[in-house]
């Protein structure tokens, strides 16, 4: 990754009639980074990607690729290539002709085309399948052909529209690693659109979270997880227990908060959160709560509750624990160390929490 901005979106807006799909989108993407636009369906992320590709024109604002304004550059002249959600493999062409599609009829020597196609197919581990018919490919192979067909063009930016959503879970996980590896070794900027938070987190250098046409937060996956800007982001990425809190003391870096169920906790201020007052929203990730038959020792605050639903996930177990003063049960995730499910519905348990794991979510929207 370098410091050069390969894509710059400046106040980009897109409206369809009275509906605003994307509003005030400003974003700088670095050369060589893997960037994901994450959000629920209909949040405008695909529209944003299609504007970069040139399939849609912004209503307002500017898009620059490698410093060049794209306003009058049609999609077929842009230095971007796209992997489509349906993969859009040409059904009347074989694999080789699909991959070489953008190179043919351009005055490029046959030998060079063949060499580049072989190289691209080898890259996606489909070496030697040039003659295979498009209709005979599996889902995973179609995805790889789509990737090879775009990469063979040597684009400055590769755009990926939900590239893995059509694959089954195992294949999807494998492709996540392969694509990440490919992106690192090629050094091409990848911009991916996805609604799958795990996909975005495992693959991306940075993630932009979008809701209702607005870009809400842009950060590295770990920062996004630990310091979400507000309730929207916190609940979309991973699971979160929300607690309304009263600010009873503050200094430069910390806040002392009183939640309905725990003794006062000293928590770190979240630089991403906005809006402060006497009341803020706080969040605790399920895996950061301790659980035990007796009050866990060495924790900043503890509370007694009763186990409700128990969900066994394999690698961990989720307990929903009702505690006094909080309407919704607290979710607690315990790693499955010894193949045991230790608590059952109705059991009395104690929860423990460290102030350092409680996330300050600001007061932008404190209602739960």
């Amino acid at each position: 990754m370098s410091d050069v901005n390969i894509i710059q979106l400046v106040d980009v807006e897109k409206s369809f009639g009275s509906f605003t799909a994307v509003s005030n989108l400003s974003l700088d993407l670095k050369q060589g980074e893997f960037f994901s636009l994450l959000g629920p369906s209909g949040c405008g992320k695909t529209t944003a990607l299609r504007m970069i590709a040139g399939f849609q024109d912004p209503t307002r604002g500017r898009i620059l690729i490698d410093g060049q304004n794209m306003e009058d550059v049609p999609a077929n002249r842009r230095p971007t290539n796209m992997v489509f959600q349906s993969y859009a493999i040409f059904p009347h062409l074989n694999v080789g002709d699909n991959v070489s599609y953008g190179l043919r009829h351009r005055g490029i020597a046959r030998a060079e085309i063949d060499a580049r196609v072989s190289e691209a197919l080898a890259m996606v581990e489909l070496g030697g399948l040039q003659k295979r018919r498009a209709t005979e490919l599996s889902g995973g192979q179609r995805q790889r052909v789509a990737l090879a067909r775009a990469l063979v063009m040597r684009p400055k930016v590769l755009l990926l529209d939900e590239p893995l959503s059509a694959l089954d879970k195992k294949l999807r996980e494998q492709m996540q690693f392969e694509m990440r590896h490919l992106q690192r070794s090629l050094g091409i900027t990848f911009v991916m659109v996805t609604h799958d938070q795990y996909e975005a987190m495992t693959m991306s250098d940075r993630i932009g979270v979008m809701f209702k046409g607005r870009l809400v937060q842009v950060d590295a996956p770990a920062v996004l997880y630990a310091r979400p800007r507000n309730r929207e982001v916190a609940s979309f990425i991973g699971e979160m227990n929300f607690l309304a809190a009263e600010v009873i003391g503050e200094d430069a870096g910390t806040l002392t908060v009183k939640t309905p169920c725990f003794a006062p906790l000293k928590i770190a201020r979240n630089p991403n959160a906005v809006g402060y007052g006497n009341h803020i929203l706080t969040g605790i990730r399920p895996e950061q709560l301790a659980i035990g038959r007796a009050a866990p020792e060495g924790y900043d605050a503890t509370v007694e509750g009763q186990v409700g639903d128990v969900a066994f996930y394999g690698e961990n177990v989720h307990y929903h624990v009702r505690v006094p003063g909080v309407d919704r049960p607290m979710a607690v995730s315990v790693p499955n160390y010894f193949h045991t499910v230790d608590y059952a519905r109705g059991d009395k348990v104690w929860l423990g929490v460290q102030g350092a794991s409680v996330i300050d979510l600001g007061s932008e929207d404190t209602e739960i």
Binding site: P74, A75, N76, N81, A88, F90, H92, R149
Partner: protein
């Protein structure tokens, strides 16, 4: 109630309606036709000794050859003209139009009136004192009525092309409609302008629709006799007119049957050659 004892019996029962239908309405008439073609007409009676005399007569008669060739050429001209005109219309409806159903309904409007009426309408338009000539005379473009409009091959091609238009539009429309819009975007993304994209993606993907449209028009057009007899004049007569004469005025059913079979063979051969070369050509576009 009939009790079906085995899978075989069930299978026979299920396929019986189709078998009977095809047997009585396709196979039996064909057998009768072949039989007739091998008999001969002697004045008012039919000589039922099997012979290939009719085939010899038909194949050596220059008139038969001329009419057969003309029928195929006229049908080919109608097919080309109709498909060439239908493709842009189908493209517009499938790709650009907002109200597809309305447009498709409008396309079928000519079918709401009888085919004969439509042919007569063309006679009124193209005739010596017809709409076209009157209009051109009134405007002063011509000094006397044009005579080349009606009673020739041109009139036949024009009338048939108009009549068959919906049959060409619909299959092409369906094949255009089936194209995934992302394929077109992928072509653009890979550097194609509008024309190149059409030639390399849209056109090859609509080859099945074009082939279907061509066959739907070509096959019945070769054997059409209403249009040529109404607007074709003597230059526009086709093989079906000769067949009609054999079964009518000439009262030579065996020769008529022979000519029908030869026409079927010629059409079948032309159609097979066409389908093979068209699909082959479609596959070569890359």
């Amino acid at each position: 109630m009939i009790r079906l004892r085995s899978e075989t019996a069930k299978g026979v029962a299920l396929s019986a309606p189709a078998t009977l239908y095809v047997g009585f309405l396709v196979a039996a008439p064909l057998v009768i036709l072949v039989t007739y073609s091998m008999w001969t007409q002697s004045y008012v009676t039919i000589d039922k000794t099997l012979t290939l005399a009719n085939y010899r007569e038909a194949l050596t008669d220059p008139l038969v050859r001329l009419l057969m060739l003309r029928s195929i050429l006229i049908a080919a001209a109608v097919t080309v003209a109709t498909v060439a005109l239908a493709y842009p219309i189908a493209y517009f409806i499938a790709m650009k139009a907002q109200r597809k159903t309305l447009w498709l309904l409008l396309i079928t409007i000519p079918f709401w009136s009888s085919y004969l009426l439509r042919v007569f309408a063309w006679k009124l338009i193209l005739g010596f004192n017809g709409v076209m000539n009157s209009a051109l005379l009134a405007v002063g473009v011509i000094q006397e009525p044009l005579t080349f409009l009606l009673y020739n091959e041109f009139a036949v091609v024009l009338t048939l092309a108009h009549a068959w238009a919906p049959f060409a539009i619909l299959p092409i429309y369906v094949s255009l409609q089936k194209i995934d819009p992302q394929l077109l975007e992928a072509a653009t993304d890979l550097g194609n302008g509008g024309l190149e994209r059409f030639l390399r993606v849209t056109l090859p993907l609509t080859v099945p629709g074009i082939v279907a449209a061509c066959l739907i028009i070509f096959i019945p057009t070769v054997g059409d006799y209403v249009t040529p007899s109404l607007v074709g004049g003597s230059d526009g007569k086709m093989i079906a007119n000769l067949i009609q004469v054999q079964f009518g005025a000439a009262n030579n059913w065996p020769l008529g049957a022979t000519l029908s079979l030869l026409a079927m063979l010629a059409v079948g051969f032309a159609a097979i050659v066409f389908v093979l070369s068209a699909t082959g050509l479609g596959r070569r576009i890359r």
